[in-house]
Each structure stands twice: as C-alpha cells, then as structure tokens.
C-alpha cells in the first residue's frame, strides 16, 4: 500500500538524528579528505617508474669509446647538439645513463644545464628512432623526479611530442612515450592526494599558472591533447605483456583523482578497455585495472552509474575471492565505492551475490581487509530494509558483531557504523535480531573509546534500539545497564562535546530515570497580577472567515 510506504518513510525520517540523516548515512571511505596519517596505501601506484640502468636493449649500438668514460655535463650538452648522429646519440645516451643511476641522479643539474630543449628536440627526429628512444628515456627519468622536475618537462612542451611518438612504428619508442606520459599524468595525482589541502592549494596555483593549455591540471591537459585513443589502441592481443602493464598503469593514473574527476567522455572511452582488461590473467594488469575501477567509482553517483552501465560489475564481484590479496583489496575498494551510491546502485552489486564473499573477507587474516569489508557492509545496512535483510540472511551479523568486539580499532569503528546504520534503516524485527545476537555489550564497550565520533554513533544506535523496542525498552535498558553501558553513558553526560552530552542526557532521562523521578518541576516565578484569567475570546475575535 502506497500509504504504508509513506508511513515507513516518515518513520525513518523521524528517527533521524542530529548530524546524521538517511541521506548522509552512506559514507565514503574518507569523508575527511585531509589526511593526518602517513599515506602508505597505494604506494605501488604512486611509485614513479624510473627505467633502470640495466636495460640492455640497444646498448650494443653505443660507441664503445664513450662507455666507461667520465663524461662531463658540458661535453654531453655540446655533443647532444652535434650534427654527427653517432656522437649525438652517445651524448643523449650518456645523459640517460646519468639519470638512471640508482641514487640521486643529477636531475636538477641537468635541467639547469639547459638540456631539456635539446632532448625535446630529439623527440622530433623520426629519422632516428634510437635517438628518440634515448631522449624519451632520459625525459621519463627527469619526469619521475620531484614535482618541479616533472613540471620542467611539461613546460618544455614535451607532451605533444610524446603523444606524437605514440604513433611511432617502433614499439620501444611508443612504450617509452607511454612511460613518460604516465609519469606526467601521475605526478599531479601524487600531490593532490598526499599533501595537505593548504599546501595543495599553493601547488595548484603554481601548476595552473605553469601548465600550458586550457585545463586546470596536467592530466586534463594531456587528455585534451588526445592521449586516450592512441593509448587504448595498444590494447590488442599482440601487445607484449610488459608494454600492456605500462599502458594499464597509465590508465590507472588517468582515472585517479576525483577532484575534479576525469572528463565524462574520457571515462566513457576508458571503461570498455577496463571491461576487457579485467579478464587478464596477469596479476599486475588485473590489479591496476581494478584500482582504476575503484577510482572511477569514487567520483560520485554519476560515475558509479557509468561503471555499472559498462556491465563490469558481474566480473568485478567474483574478484573478491581472488587468491591474490592485492586483487581482493582493490576489488573490495571498488565494490565498496559503488555501494556508497543510491539504493538502486547498491542493489546492482547485491544482485551479483556479493554477500557470499563476505564470510571470508570478514575472517581474512589481514585486518585492513576486515576493516574495508565492514565498511562495505555499513553502507548496505544504511540501505533499504530488503538490503538490511540481505545482510542478515547472509549470516553476516554475528561476524560484524565479532569484529565490533574483537577487531582492531579501525574495524571496530566501521562495525559501530554498520550497527548504528542498521538501527536507523532496519525494521523492528531486524533491530530485534541484532539484540538477540547480543550486540549490546560490545556496542556499549565502545562508549569509552577515545573518539568522539564513534561515541556519538554508538549513542545514536543505542537510542534507536531503545526507541525501536517500544514497550520492551526496559529490557534493553537492563541489558545496557548489566554490561556496564549505563555507567558509561552516565559519564558521557560530562563529555565536553555538546552533542554527546546532550545525547547521553536524553537517553538517561528517557530510559533510565525509572521510578526514581529525578526531575523537579521547573518552577518559573512570574509576576502577573492577581485575580483570575479573563475569559474573553471576543477581544481578539477575528473578523475574517474561518477556513481550515
């Protein structure tokens, strides 16, 4: 009955709490984008790919005279502009070797020497692919340095030339260009995510003023120059695996950064490629592909919808049980992001039997996986009642409660959200089920943690459980008291956070004041005149017609 549905909605709304309503229950993984922690995650993606020295592709061509000699920068610079193709190649190669040294390559010195324009110029030499290759290699290594060093490469107008090289008939040249572009696209992302907002703003300003083209970011600048199509064209059955790995890595970097996300058209172009790559048996490619999906799904509901429409979800979900932890981690992040979307989008994931993977994820030896798994579930329990029921039917509630009691702190925190969300979106019988599973003692235990938000989330949840219990509230109150929760709530009435002490006070006042009525009637003296009230509605009688 439609009317009933309306009522249900109303009920949910009327339970909503200050600071948390149904709309904001779905939580993105990092609601706070500022990070205090060391960023350790995804390091493999941020790592600049600096091509190692041992590369022996064309070393045989190198002039043996040059080899082993102590070369000076001046000599390199001078020879690199030589008309003699052999000398020029040797010089560029020497520069590349300098840059490939393991420790502290003299990048700044080389930039200062003015080598960049020379190297960039070499990229144009279609007549000499070896020279193009060496120059591209050298530039790749420069671009892999600090942000300023990457910027220097961009400013030297290398990007259009790298894009041109994507069409080179020589695969090693193409590959090197892909490498360089990946570093340029990825550099920006690194700064956006790892540096604090204020610093970021400064960098942003410097970069925008420095960055050629209309786009506010290097990524979009490179995209605007048309990187996507040629890049994706490399994906075909004949491409060597190492090259495909690099291509995939660049795709990941294209997908990173949601602020702003990549242009819609780019996402549309990339998605079909990801749908193909997700079948790949190479672990590196698979991991990068799934990370790319996880970035795309982290860019708001519209992007989530595009990912869903690409049809990739049914192939993504089974990866949750992949034997490689790296794949599992990325897949969990990607599906986790999708369920931050709407109920309908969440349902798409649920329809792929996603919950059947969770018993293993929740008992996974890696705590980080447990944590993200519970985070995922907290967004399901924030959904509609069928979705809540799905979590119950999959037998996951006892496992969430286990994490609530025994998990590491981060996991406990997510579990608190999962439980609290369920108390808001669940039906009476679903909340009762929670209680039967003995959720209250571990839930109450978190009332003494040193984290205001968790405390608030738990208090909210307890309050909802009490409201839901209706006439049975006293039974719930008793359980809360027995497990020491009451005492904790009483202490929270002294908490310095206003929202928390008010909530604690409310709960005590409504459910624990029992037959000991603590309140005195509030007696506000007032100096009205003696006598009686005057019964006289006529005095302020309205002349207008009544109309209800």
């Amino acid at each position: 009955m439609a009317e009933n549905a309306g009522l249900e909605n109303h009920r949910i709304k009327s339970f909503k709490n200050k600071g948390r309503d149904v709309e904001t229950m779905r939580r993105h993984r990092n609601e706070v984008t500022v990070e205090l922690r060391k960023s350790k995650r995804d390091e493999h993606l941020l790592k600049k790919r600096n091509v190692p020295q041992e590369e022996s592709l064309e070393d045989s061509d190198v002039d043996s005279d040059f080899k082993g000699q102590n070369v000076t920068l001046d000599a390199i610079l001078q020879n690199a502009t030589s008309d003699n193709a052999v000398i020029q190649l040797s010089a560029v190669q020497a520069a590349r070797k300098l840059l490939s040294s393991d420790r502290n390559p003299p990048i700044d010195d080389l930039i200062k020497s003015g080598i960049l324009p020379i190297l960039v110029k070499c990229l144009e030499r279609d007549d000499n692919p070896s020279l193009q290759f060496e120059a591209a290699w050298a530039l790749t290594n420069i671009a892999s340095g600090t942000s300023a060093q990457t910027q220097a490469v961009v400013k030297s107008n290398a990007v259009p030339l790298f894009l041109r090289l994507l069409h080179s008939p020589h695969q090693n040249v193409c590959e090197q260009a892909v490498w360089a572009l990946g570093n340029i696209i990825g550099r920006w992302c690194f700064f956006r995510s790892a540096v604090c907002v204020c610093v970021c703003v400064c960098v942003y300003i410097i970069l925008t003023s420095a960055c050629p083209g209309d786009g506010p970011q290097c990524r979009d600048y490179v995209i605007s120059l048309g990187v996507v199509k040629p890049l994706l064209s490399f994906i075909n059955p004949s491409i060597p695996i190492t090259f495909l790995r690099n291509v995939t890595w660049v795709i990941v970097n294209l997908c990173r950064n949601k602020d702003p996300p990549p242009p819609m058209e780019t996402v549309q172009e990339i998605l079909p490629a990801l749908c193909v790559l997700i079948y790949h048996t190479d672990i590196n490619i698979l991991v990068d592909t799934v990370w790319a999906l996880s970035y795309l799904t982290d860019g708001g509901n519209e992007q989530i919808q595009m990912v869903i429409d690409s049809g990739v979800v049914p192939f993504l979900v089974p990866l949750l049980s992949h034997q490689e932890v790296k794949v599992q981690t990325a897949a969990l992040r990607a599906v986790g992001n999708i369920v931050t979307g709407t109920d309908e989008q969440t349902q798409v994931v649920l329809n792929c039997d996603v919950l059947s993977h969770f018993p293993n994820l929740l008992t996974h030896p890696k705590e980080k996986i447990n944590k993200e798994a519970v985070w995922f579930l907290s967004n399901i329990t924030a959904g509609n009642q069928q979705q809540v029921q799905a979590v119950i039917d999959a037998g996951l509630i006892p496992m969430i409660i286990h994490q609530l009691a025994k998990g590491d702190f981060g996991t406990q925190k997510e579990a608190a959200w999962a439980i609290s969300n369920l108390t808001i979106s669940g039906r009476k019988d679903q909340v009762e089920f929670l209680v039967e599973q003995n959720v209250i003692p571990p839930f109450c235990n978190l009332l003494s943690v040193k984290d205001s938000q968790v405390v608030q989330v738990v208090l909210d949840g307890l309050k909802n459980i009490l409201i839901m219990a209706g006439d049975e509230a006293s039974t719930i109150a008793e359980i809360i008291e027995e497990c020491g929760g009451l005492e904790k709530i009483e202490n929270l009435q002294q908490h310095e956070n206003e929202d928390i002490y008010k909530l604690a006070f409310e709960i005590i006042d409504q459910y624990f004041s029992g037959d000991d009525i603590d309140e005195d009637p509030s007696l506000i003296p007032d100096t009205t005149q003696g006598g009686t009230f005057n019964f006289d509605p006529a005095s302020n009688m309205q002349t207008k017609e009544f109309n209800f």
Binding site: S39, E482, N534, F546, F548
Partner: protein, 971 residues
C-alpha cells in the same frame, strides 16, 4: 575613549569598585563598565592597566575583566553588529602574546585563556602568525615564557580531544603539526636533557617538570584525532623518553603533602594516558613499545605508596593494564602464573585495602562515601580501578585468578579471625575482593545479575556475612556491618529466599545503628528486597512473611529518621514508602501515629526544601497512607484532611514552589475519594486555584488541571450554584492553556470536564465563545495533537448535547461551518485519534451525527454522509494513523496526551482512567448498527441506497458484519 591617563585613572577607580563587597557600590560600577565596553580602545585600556598599573590587585582585576570581555564580545555573530572594532582586534592580536609571556603567572593565565578564546574564532585564518610567534619563543630558553606558550597552546589545542572530525578541523591540526610538531619535539628532548643537567636543582626541576607535563598534554591533544605522520616517524623519540620518564624518580620532586598530587605524579599520569591512547587507537604502530610500557607501569604500581596523592596516577595506571589485558593479542603478556600471581598480590590486593582516607569518609562524610560505594561514582578510585582489572583479567583467566584470590581471601579471613579488633580491615578487603570477583553484571533494579560460578556466594554468606549481621552489638565494626549489608543487597538475586528472609529481621535491627552508612545501607537493602519479584508477578517477600516484623520495621524506620545526620535521608524515606506499599492494609493500625510524624516532617522540610528525592518519597508515603486507609474505609478521608490541611495551607500561603505540584496531587487524591459532594473547605480554596501566577509555572499545570477536574466532577453543581461568578475565571484558565501548543491538551481535559459535569444552563452563555476560540486556534496554528483533542471534544459535546446542537452551534458561528469541519477535519483526521476511551467517544459522537442529525439527510451536507460513515468504519478497523507532518517534529510535545502526563508525578497518587460514556455503550459497532437501523426505519430505502452507491466494498463488508452482530437489517 581616548587611550590617555585620565581614562586609565577613571577606569581604575571603577575596577576597584567592582571588588567592593557592598552591592550598592559594586553593581553600579559593573553596570558602568558594561555600558562603556563597546567603545573604541576599551580593551586596550584594560591591557594597559594590567601591564602598567602599580597595584597588583588592579592588574589582576583588569586581566579578569579583559578575559570576560573577550569571552562576551569577540565572537562575530551573523546579523549582529561587530562588538569589537577592527582596530582594537588588530591591536589586541598584535600585543597579547608578548604581554601574556611577560606577565606574572596569575595574569598570564587569564591572558592565556583570552588568547585561546580569540584563537577559537580567529585561528588560523585570521591569526596566521600566532603559532610561529609562539614557536619562536621556544628558543628563548626562559622556561617562564616557554610554559606560558605551552599553556596557551594547550588551551588552544585541547578541543582536538573531543570535537568531531571534519575537513576544517583536520586542516587546522595539519597546519598546527606543520609548524608546531618539530619544535615541540626538539623542546621535549632539550627539556629532558636539562632535567639531567639540573638534577640537583629543585627549583629548576619544578619548572622543567611542569613543562614536561604540558608537553605531554599537548602530545595527547595532537595525537587524539589520528596518528599524525610526524609522530609516527618520531615515535621512537617520544616513546623512549616517555618510557624513561615513567621509570624516573627524583627525591627532590617527592612532596610531603599526602593529598595533593606532585609534579612527578601528574606527569606520569599523563604519560599513562598517552600510552593508553596509543594502545587503543594506534595498536599496530605501537605494538613494539607496548610490552615495555606494561612492565614500566606495573613496576610503577608496585613501587607507589598508598597516599591519596598517588590515586589518580595509580588508577590511570591500573586502567591501562585493565584495558590491555583483555585484548586477545596481549594475552601472552599476562598468562604466566607468576605474572598473574604477582599482579594479584602486588597490584590488586594492596589497592583494595580500606585506607584511612576511606575510614574518614565513612565516619565524617557518609554522603560522599555512600555515593561512591553504592551509586558507582567511584570511577577514579583505586578500588574501582583494581576491581576493573580483576574483571579484565577474568575474561581470559577466570579460573587461575579465582584460585589465586581464593587463597588470599582465606588468608585475610584467617588474619581477621586471629584478632578481629586489630585486623577487621582484612575482612573488609576480603569481602570487597569476593564481590569484585563474583560480580559480572549488575543493575540497580536487581543487583548482581550474573555471577562468577567459581565463587560460592551462598557459602560465603553463611560462613562470613551472617555472623556479622547477627552480632548483637550493631555498633561494633560498623564498616564490616555495612559490608555485610551491602553483600545481601547486591547479591539479593543470587541468594536463596530463605537466606533473604533470615536477613530481613537482622537488617531491621541494623536500622538502629549509629553509623549513618550502616543504617542507610540497611534501609536501602530492605527497600531493594521489598521490590524483588516472586512468582506470579507478586513480591518475593509477602506481607504475610513480614507480619512478625511489621511493627519493628516501621518503628525502626521512623526512629532512624531521628538519628543524627539522617533527618532527610532519602534512602530511609524510600524504604518507608516501599514498606507501606508492600504491607498494604497491615499498616492501617499504625497510620494514626505515623501520619502525624509524616506531616510533622513535611512541615519541617517545607521551610527549606533541599532534598528533592527525600521530599518526593515523603509525598509518595503520604499518598500511600491515604490510599491504603481510605480503601478500607473511605470515611477516614476527613481525618487525613484534618491532619494535612494545616500543612497544605501553610505551603500554599508561603508559596513553596517545589511542593505545589505535590500538594495539588495530594488534594486531588483526597477530593476524589469523596462521593459526589464537595466539602466547603475545598470550595474556599477554589478561587485561589484560578490565580494566574500558579498557571505560569509549567510544573503546576498537569496537577492543577487534574485538581480542577476533581472539583468539577465532585462539585460541578456547587460551582454553578455558589461560585457562578468564578466560571469566567475557570474558562480563562482554559483559554490560557489552549493558547499554548505545549499545554492545549490540558486545556481540553479541563473543557471536557466542564462539558461533562457542569449543568448545561450554567455554561450556555459561553458555549459559542468557546467554539470561536477553538476555531481561531485551528485556523492560526493547528497541530496534530490539537486536532486529536479537538475531535474528542466535539464528539463528547455531541454525545452530551446531541448532534443537532453541535450542528446548530457550528452553523450559527458561520454558515456551512458544520460541513467544513466534517469535510476538512473530522473525515480526514479522525483516524489519528488514539486511546480506547478517546476512540469510543469519537465513535459514539459520529454515530449520532450520522443518525440523529436531520441536516445530514436533507441538505447539501448529505454528500458527506457516506464519507463520514466510511471514516467511522476506518476508525474501527484500520490501524491508527500516527504520522505527524514534518515541521511538527520538533514542536515541544508531551508524549502521549492521554490522561497521564510526565512531571513530578506521584506514582501512588495515580488517577483512574475516566470514561465519560461508561457502560451505557458496550460496543460502539453495535450502537452504529442499531442507530443505522433506526434511521432506516424512519426513512425507508434511503440508507441502503446511500450505502450501495458510494461506500467502498471493504467498508461495506465490515458494516454488514456489524449489522449481523446486532441482528438488524436495514430497510
């Protein structure tokens, strides 16, 4: 205001006057200062004074005034004028840090607070250089200045400990970390080095240690929200030094004071907190350090004395161990038998001992002792921390811990047995240990609800508790007696009934003990035992079982109220209330004596009501006396009135505000016992109850409405006869209540009683006005609660005066009004009416409108006939519609506006639910069927045709069911 000497001089004078004890001097000066504080330069004048005045008193006073000024005015509130000129703001921010750092400590603290208030508003955006300015002072080498900076930083940053995370907050913390974390770390290291170089200089050490404490507090604030990158990278430095400080001792820093914690203790306490923070939140990163901290903290505990000054440190340290030992992956740190034994022996047992400070509290500060021991406000005590550690250890090691402690318990009891007079404290500790070992879950209502099965509670009771209770001298070893009583009290749900019954007379005799704690515990234990439930929802202890002790129980309870210190003892009063309630009619013979004592007590406390709980239970006891006695013999009500009226009159006359709501309830209870007449003593009071001043206090409203309802029920006719001139005043109260969204339902209660009980002719002249008033409220601000009450009222009116009268009065106010109310209010909203009586009134009223109102059949109202019938069937059959429009959610609504309301309501003055229709209508569905039948016979053919054309099928089916049940057939 110029910044000149004259102004300085005059402000100085005013400041001096604000310190004057004489309010006639002080108040005008305070007023003056407030009146000029909006002027330009006012804050700068204050700053100048606190810096330059010759008079220290004036300097401090200026500092305090300045801080309060900042507190009141600095925040810029949207849509309100800026209260501090921008010029002054800039000048203040430019100078205050310097000024704070160069001021003596007393002034420094005030300015430091002021900086943090300003910082809360302006930092970091509008005060970007604050931190750098502060940090540069770290290099000054002057620890007076450094401590000033640290203190200010602490007050700026401590909010990070309790605020919710947000981008804004974290950006600020990030900024603080970038500027502050490294210099703080350097300062920390430097300070520790200085402590070593100055290890022999006590004055230097004091300053350095207060710096270290502040630094540790800052560490806590900065690490609270999440583990910052900087501190993760520098964990080695911080933790190694923290660990070093924990193990450090310096004779020079030991204080002789037994009570006040010294610098060493404060620092170590904070370090325990820091370690606990890391252990809880950053376990993964902290794991390598944790075992070292466990050992250090444990050694600390073993070597720390029993003095009060160590309490905070010890309880923090034990709590740290308690939180670590219940974590699965640290289990191994504790599981060794020797470790466990040593923790039990050296940490737990010593901290459970009854100390001389406890003994003092037991004797001289019993209220505090009881609050800590009985009500659980012992959070920071050593005993409590030790008890938590026992519970923590029991999670994994219940068996071994119980075994270890059993040994201790027997040896302590052995010590006691050797020489009770000397060693009674050993037995106290033994009982405490058993209690904390045995109790796993506890509630106020039932005491211990889950016990450690390895502890034989009953055996311990028989062997060690009963003997103390039985000892003939109730005043010997009062602490042990109190322990024994408490044992019975908290383990009441675990002990067999025969043991409890054995304890009852013993507890009664302990009511006579001189020790306040002891007789209070006895009263409390009895009260709790009397509330225990037995089979079939009766009390566990029956009145019959209590019969042999009744007299002594009542005697001793009342005698206990006369013991020194217990004149207003709430536990005793509650026990009196509970005894009355349990014993019921067996108290009747004692009431004549007891009522005198209770009223005497009431008279005394009404002079200066100070114990709300005591007073509440006193009134409850009075109500119980009345109810129980009058139930057996209603005529005795007059003797209660005789006893109570003088006190009640005095309370009313002296306007003892706390007691008025109680008095009105007691009067209601008394008046309701009378059968259909109202004594003149009540009538004399009637005009006073209509005084506006009483109705302005929200707590009075529910009991006063109830009292007026009792007047109307018992004396509607008398009021109409002898107090007709008071009717407008009575209706005035109704008008006052109806105007308020919070109290309108109370207004309807009153109105319903007026309609039901006043002779119709006495109110006929007011009827139209009443309705106009209701329509006005309906028009201007209707709420769901108002509509529900309104629907009940108009239907009650219809039942009482007839459907025609209802229709006529509506239509006389405005043509077609009746139709509009039917269409817009009754039909769509009647589904919301809740409560069986309320629903019945509406059903009967609507039935009358449908079947006894000619204009429903023959005018344009006819089209509403079927919808109204449908709505009535809906009221019978559909679930209640409890939806509330969105904007009403936050209106202050008293929960269920039934006939009950929440305020200081006396449980034992309860009112029976009143049904104005009563048995005259058994089943409203049958009434509808019969009435429809009657209508159909009056105009054959019409009713079936109306039904068949527009009533929906489901409703029709229900209706046919009613007709069948009534065995009638429409024609």
């Amino acid at each position: 205001m110029e910044l000149n000497d004259a102004n300085l001089q005059s402000l100085t004078e005013f400041l001096r006057k604000t310190l004057d004890p004489d309010p006639t001097v002080r108040r005008p000066a305070e007023k003056f200062l407030e009146s000029v504080e909006g002027n330009l330069n006012y804050p700068l004048l204050l700053l100048t004074m606190l810096e330059k005045s010759q008079d220290t008193v004036i300097r401090v006073c200026a500092a305090v005034t300045f801080k309060n000024y900042i507190k009141r005015n600095w925040r810029i509130v949207e849509d309100e004028p800026n209260k501090v000129s921008d010029q002054d703001r800039t000048a203040i921010k430019a100078n205050i840090v310097n000024l704070m750092l160069s001021s003596p400590e007393q002034i420094q603290k005030q300015l430091s607070d002021a900086i943090s208030i300003i910082g809360r508003e302006d930092f970091p955006q509008k005060w970007p250089d604050l931190l750098t300015e502060m940090v540069t002072r770290f290099r000054s080498g002057d620890f007076h200045i450094i401590n000033g900076v640290l203190r200010t930083a602490h007050s700026l940053f401590k909010r990070y400990r309790h605020e919710f995370k947000s981008n804004e907050l974290w950006s600020e913390i990030k900024l603080v970390l970038d500027t502050f974390a490294l210099p703080l770390t350097e300062l920390f290291k430097a300070t520790i080095e200085l402590c070593q170089t100055h290890a022999a200089d006590v004055n230097a050490l004091k300053v350095l240690f207060s710096s270290l404490t502040l630094i540790s507090k800052l560490f806590y604030s900065l690490n609270f929200q999440d583990l910052p990158e900087f501190f993760e990278d520098n964990m080695e430095t911080w933790m190694t030094n923290f660990h070093g400080l924990l193990t450090l001792d310096n004779k020079l820093l030991q204080t002789n004071d037994e009570e006040e914690a010294g610098l060493l203790e404060l620092l170590k306490s904070q370090i325990c907190d820091n370690a606990a923070l890391y252990a809880q939140k950053y376990d993964e990163e902290f794991q390598p350090y944790l075992p070292r901290f466990v050992t250090a903290i444990w050694n600390l505990l073993v070597s720390t004395g029993q003095e009060v000054k160590y309490d905070l440190l010890v309880s923090n340290a034990i709590q740290f161990l308690a939180s670590v030992c219940e974590r699965p992956h640290y289990k191994h740190l504790f599981e060794d038998q020797n470790t466990l034994t040593s923790i039990c022996e050296k940490v737990i047992v010593p901290n459970m001992e009854f100390r001389s400070a406890d003994e003092e509290a037991f004797e001289d500060n019993s209220e505090e002792y009881i609050r800590r021991d009985l009500e659980g406000s012992d959070i920071d005590t050593r005993r409590r921390a030790a008890c938590d550690l026992v519970r923590g250890l029991c999670k994994f090691f219940e068996g071994p811990v119980t075994a270890i402690f059993s040994g201790y318990v027997s040896s302590m009891l052995g010590e006691y047995a050797k020489n009770p007079g000397e060693n009674w404290k050993h037995k106290d500790a033994a009982i405490y240990l058993v209690t904390s070992l045995a109790s796993k879950a506890q509630t106020q209502k039932h005491g211990i609800t889950q016990a450690n099965e390895l502890v034989n509670l009953n055996e311990f009771f028989v062997n060690h508790i009963l003997s103390d209770l039985k000892s003939p001298n109730v005043n010997e070893f009062p602490v042990l007696k109190a322990d024994a009583i408490k044992y019975v009290m908290i383990f009441r749900s675990q002990l067999p009934k025969e043991q409890l019954l054995q304890a009852v007379p013993l507890l009664i005799s302990h009511l006579q003990a001189e020790s306040t704690v002891e007789h209070t515990y006895s009263a409390h234990a009895l009260e709790r035992l009397f509330t225990m439930r037995g089979p079939n929802n009766t009390t566990l202890i029956t009145p019959a079982e209590m019969a042999p002790f009744t007299e002594q129980l009542l005697n001793n309870l009342f005698k206990a109220l006369a013991l020194p210190g217990s004149a207003e003892n709430e536990y005793i009063m509650k026990a009196i209330m509970r005894s009355f309630s349990l014993l019921q009619e067996s108290i009747v013979p004692y009431i004549p004596t007891l009522i005198g004592q209770l009223t005497h007590k009431l008279l005394l406390v009404s002079k200066n009501p100070s114990k709300p709980h005591f007073n509440h239970y006193l009134f409850e006891s009075l109500c119980l006396s009345v109810r129980i006695t009058c139930k057996a013999n209603p005529t005795t009500v007059s003797s209660f009135e005789e006893a109570l009226f003088p006190v009640i009159t005095e309370i009313l006359q002296n306007d003892v505000q706390e007691f008025l709501p109680y008095v009105f309830q007691v009067m209601s209870l008394l008046l309701e016992i009378h059968s259909n007449s109202i004594p003149s003593s009540y009538m004399a009071l009637f005009p006073h109850l209509l005084q506006p001043v009483l109705w302005e206090r929200t707590g009075n409203i529910p009991p006063l409405v109830r009292l007026l309802q009792a007047y109307l029920e018992k004396g509607g006719a008398s009021i109409a006869g002898s107090a007709a001139d008071k009717i407008p005043g009575l209706l005035g109260v109704f008008q006052k209540l109806i105007a308020s969204k919070a109290n309108d339902h109370q207004g309807f209660y009153l109105l319903n009683s007026i309609i039901e009980h006043m002779p119709p002719e006495s109110i006929i002249q007011y009827r139209k006005q009443i309705f106009i008033l209701l329509f006005q409220r309906l028009q201007s601000s209707k709420t769901t609660k108002f509509i529900k009450s309104f629907l009940v009222f108009i239907n009650l009116y219809c039942v009482k005066y007839g459907a025609i009268a209802l229709q006529e009065i509506f239509d006389s106010i405005q043509p077609k009004m009746f139709g509009m109310v039917l269409e817009k209010i009754i039909i769509p909203e009647v589904q919301k009416v809740s409560g069986p009586v309320e629903k019945k009134i509406c059903a009967v009223g609507i039935t009358k409108v449908l079947t006894e109102c000619p204009s429903m059949m023959d005018t344009e109202y006819t089209k509403l006939w079927t919808p109204l019938l449908q709505a009535l069937i809906g009221l019978f059959e559909l679930p209640e519609d409890d939806s509330i429009p969105d904007d009403e959610h936050f209106v202050d609504i008293e929960d269920a506006p039934g006939y009950q309301t929440a305020f200081s309501q006396l449980a034992f003055a309860g009112k029976k639910e009143h049904d104005p229709i009563g048995d005259s209508v058994g089943n409203p569905k049958i009434l509808l069927a019969q009435s429809l039948y009657k209508l159909s016979t009056a105009c054959p053919g019409r009713v079936p045709s109306m039904l068949s054309t527009s009533l929906n099928a489901e409703a029709l089916q229900f209706l046919q069911g009613y007709l069948q049940a009534a065995t009638v057939q429409l024609v």
